[in-house]
Symmetry: D3
Subunit: 250 residues, 6 copies
Amino acid sequence: MRILLVNPNMTGAMTDRMADIARTLVPTGTKIVPLTADRGFPYIASRAEAQIAGAIAYELIAEHADGADAAIIAAFGDPGLAGARELFDFPVVGMAEAAVMSAAMLGERFSIVTFSPVMRRWYEDAARDAGLTARFTGVRTPDTHTSDLENAQTALQEDLIALCRHAVEQDGADVVILGGAPLAGMADDIRQRVDAIVVDPISAATAQALALLSMTGRDSFGRRHAKPLAKAAEGLPAALTRTFARDKTP
Amino acid sequence: MRILLVNPNMTGAMTDRMADIARTLVPTGTKIVPLTADRGFPYIASRAEAQIAGAIAYELIAEHADGADAAIIAAFGDPGLAGARELFDFPVVGMAEAAVMSAAMLGERFSIVTFSPVMRRWYEDAARDAGLTARFTGVRTPDTHTSDLENAQTALQEDLIALCRHAVEQDGADVVILGGAPLAGMADDIRQRVDAIVVDPISAATAQALALLSMTGRDSFGRRHAKPLAKAAEGLPAALTRTFARDKTP
Amino acid sequence: MRILLVNPNMTGAMTDRMADIARTLVPTGTKIVPLTADRGFPYIASRAEAQIAGAIAYELIAEHADGADAAIIAAFGDPGLAGARELFDFPVVGMAEAAVMSAAMLGERFSIVTFSPVMRRWYEDAARDAGLTARFTGVRTPDTHTSDLENAQTALQEDLIALCRHAVEQDGADVVILGGAPLAGMADDIRQRVDAIVVDPISAATAQALALLSMTGRDSFGRRHAKPLAKAAEGLPAALTRTFARDKTP
Amino acid sequence: MRILLVNPNMTGAMTDRMADIARTLVPTGTKIVPLTADRGFPYIASRAEAQIAGAIAYELIAEHADGADAAIIAAFGDPGLAGARELFDFPVVGMAEAAVMSAAMLGERFSIVTFSPVMRRWYEDAARDAGLTARFTGVRTPDTHTSDLENAQTALQEDLIALCRHAVEQDGADVVILGGAPLAGMADDIRQRVDAIVVDPISAATAQALALLSMTGRDSFGRRHAKPLAKAAEGLPAALTRTFARDKTP
Amino acid sequence: MRILLVNPNMTGAMTDRMADIARTLVPTGTKIVPLTADRGFPYIASRAEAQIAGAIAYELIAEHADGADAAIIAAFGDPGLAGARELFDFPVVGMAEAAVMSAAMLGERFSIVTFSPVMRRWYEDAARDAGLTARFTGVRTPDTHTSDLENAQTALQEDLIALCRHAVEQDGADVVILGGAPLAGMADDIRQRVDAIVVDPISAATAQALALLSMTGRDSFGRRHAKPLAKAAEGLPAALTRTFARDKTP
Amino acid sequence: MRILLVNPNMTGAMTDRMADIARTLVPTGTKIVPLTADRGFPYIASRAEAQIAGAIAYELIAEHADGADAAIIAAFGDPGLAGARELFDFPVVGMAEAAVMSAAMLGERFSIVTFSPVMRRWYEDAARDAGLTARFTGVRTPDTHTSDLENAQTALQEDLIALCRHAVEQDGADVVILGGAPLAGMADDIRQRVDAIVVDPISAATAQALALLSMTGRDSFGRRHAKPLAKAAEGLPAALTRTFARDKTP
């Protein structure tokens, strides 16, 4: 089995870290294929950036779709998720959606903790768009934005633990999601120090990709009645053009 | 790993069939422990029955909680789910919730097809209670109730396929859930003949149990701040009384 | 007329206090029949406890259904309410639902004030589940849990008055519900000192039971088309088994 | 006790019929005071008419507020209800709100059946505005409008019974509300022939007025913190002007 | 073109100020016809007042409907809006609805800032009733009520700027609506000092009236299938009576 | 004034037709600048296509942003709308959002009629995403898809009129939106033959662009506190890269 792990951001180190985490969750023989955007943004933090990055993600997926069994869109706001699900003939998982859906199955109330106030409204929308408003206790962030994302994990760890505790003690969360790719991998340490179930979104996305694969038959995806009509695209990369044309010639 | 598969109905044959399906999904070394209600109802079909059956499910889980890693409540309306999640220190998965959450990650719109009009409103509530109303295209059922659940699979297969096709072609579903334990195991055949992604709820529940286990640390569950206070129950079975008392003495 | 007042908690003194309040509201000739759970929990404070207590409530109602005209489930989270309404052939009223529905008819905005932060989320859900989120201004509670429920009324009176005033002045409530059986009977004093309409849930439930009885014909309940199918239960108390079987033999 | 039964329509015969029904529900010593609009419309059937009729209702209530204990706005769309609740220092009940709130306490799902397609959207809004969309199964009406409201009861009885049965058998209603003042009093006959709980809105409103009165203290209403500021109105009838001015001089 | 600017309040100076603002937005040849309530209230601040003022607004519109192309109901809570839309055969715009709909097209999140805590809940309802709850970040007001509305603009300017900044920096608003007729015209100054898009509701209402006129054909309004049936009103002013009767005789 | 009319589809004839309609609505001196996607799809009909087309729209807007006062995204599903609003310092209007918001200000209930069943779910989502579900009566389409969009207007006119009448008479719509760029310009004829207010989305979008411009000050847009942080994009066209960098150098 091959699962594409598509980072619509350009930061390859972040892709690698996420791929390493994903590999700890998949069974032997399942291959995680890390893909990083080759243009766009170092780190997506707005809907405008996500619009572009989502389109780039389609190019990456289309290029590697042959032989792939699933794809993970590995950025917390799930750029391009709904369209990718229409377009490709295998499960596509979003990090934010996977995290909030999983959180809702792990406890009654969940919070999102993240690294910057800049992300707040987009992450609020992730819970709302999943339909889980009634069980969402909000986003907790530091008061100010940190531009040094590379060192966010060390610089912010104590702050994030404090925010998780606020989410639990003041907001009543059973589950805390550590939102945003820059926090990938911090859950293992943080969950030792917080009295809640702590969810790492890339782990949630990987686990959901495996779950969706194991409960469905691969060939149903290609036969979906609701699939968009075949389209002749122009000016797009060849693999993506073939995908829209439903041309299966390799 | 041990996953309790708790059938709050009394029909052992149904438990066995669901356990067999679950076993096809779990990795080697993971044990499915089938448990069947020893009192209550042959098949739950109302909220009153679910109230009682949910309480019985707690007894079964408590009795086998020692050494267990997760529990599946294996009846489509998820009797007792919210309480079980508070009470036990491991993930608890409901068949209906797991199916609708998975369906929402597999496609944009989903339907539920089931074997009797009697189940319609309860199943409608399953989608609503999960927060997924906006993506739910409704429940399709035969016009009349079949009391012969044992032979439902053979008697109803053609009807169910026709209902699935209505769900897809008229209601616009990408994903169809075959709701209700009596239909467990039919998805493999039906998905060959329906142009949609077909979800079998016990498969969805098993896959979600594995997913939730793989993304969390077991000991977080016991430390949850939001866990109910310890309680001295009276007149309940010993294991369940110990569970409410948070008494870990085996 | 006979109205069953079913306390799914085991605390008989609480049942007696609530029955005394109910008796002040019913006309001469209407009998309040107090029933107290003989197993389960001294005081329900979680969904897990409510799952079990609701099932016990059905046993109590079934045992006394003969000759009864209505039942009140006398615990604020309404354990077992939806199922009881399906099962029994007379009106069944829940304390929380009766209180929030009444509050919404008494004013535009309402709050719930209760005795412990432990109850917060369950009580929030009571307003949400009734569909009244848009008119609900939230739950106010003391910061810490009081385990001494017996003396809650004297110990907490001043705190509760302060919380009611916050609900009115800061949250904009027209109506304040004193939620939770331990506060039953406090409304008379508190309403003298708070500039709002104060609702006592057991009074609301009793008044609603009388209201529902006076506007319906008793025999319609037995003829409901949507009533669950008759079921052969096993291992349940005789009266409850007869109820599920729709066996009217006394 | 005095309860004002305010018909914002000009049809006195309708007021009398509703007052007769209300009188069968109130205890000895409680007086129903029927009031009929002296200008406006024979029968309100739109929001524009309701805007005007609601303002007229305030004049009637203000004129008779002295010594009154509650008021019922006796037209199904509840003209002026929210404002009346702010303005007057006693409970004000609306026929539609009382009916839908009561229906939701009597069963899980409810429908409204009425006499004309013209009323459909207003009545749909009654359920939505009460927050009860999730439990509402819709409005059923004859296909064409009957202008002869006086004889509606005899002319339409069979049609209405058929509509009630559709609401029950096809829409899944447990409870059917016979919406609209022209149908007042038909419930007694119709409920013998329909397998559902049938609610007569004027009975529901009367029962709710009694319920709200019995659970509150009259003097709380005048002390409400959220009451609008006193206002100097101009050009309105004297009693209503005094009401807005909070002038208690009789 | 003639646009009626109907102030359902009695304060003519406020009407004049709003008409002056409206005139700056309309093209040459479009006439703004200011109309002020001749009875009722100096300034509407509650639903009861709005019920009456809305009915008075209909009289004003009906009196001047001949030759009119649109009407603006120039009070922030939109008294009588839904009914006016049914009744008159041209577009009717409400200040609150126009402001919140425009705000939602100008940015992702919007707040309302107003002059008194008394208006809070009515203004909250304006966002909710428009369906825009998910994008509404709340109402900000001074802590105390100012009765001197005439001088509100000078007295409150600094306070309002501070409230706007809170709405932007703490609540995350992209757009701030200056709610309430007493603040009409302040937006020009305030927007220089606040880092957000600032909406003046009378400007929004005027702009929306022009927009709706330019995109529709005038004669469609009279042909609407969903228009209420013609009605014989009694005791209402002649022009309004003719409007309800659909009598086009001038 | 310059308003960019951005067609994210590649069909220039469609852009020209929409630009012609827009020009009939703008005052003398306001220039409509038609822009057509130079790659992508002839006609967008799915979310995947919209993801890509929205990103292309940003390139077109960025290229022409200098001196522009507003932009219209001229495709019914509003590809890229939310992001464009963040990114550019002037109003950005979407055809679908403008149409549904306008429809909700023109009447109580609205429908969308379009040319193909393929568009149904996307157009349903347009009403839902705007928050207007409660006033939306659904999408009506022909039963089968027409691939010949160029001749859709002549081939489908009678069908569309019939669908509009169904929307009005059976679904209760006051307002009908003719959704989808291929229908642009048909409203003038259709509204003569349908008893409803008929909305042409490109007219609605143009009218809303003018409305939003007239009620706001241009320089507020650049000062928005909630604007995303400046970003260094890589591999994107120069103008768009400068936009993300907030580099105002022409």
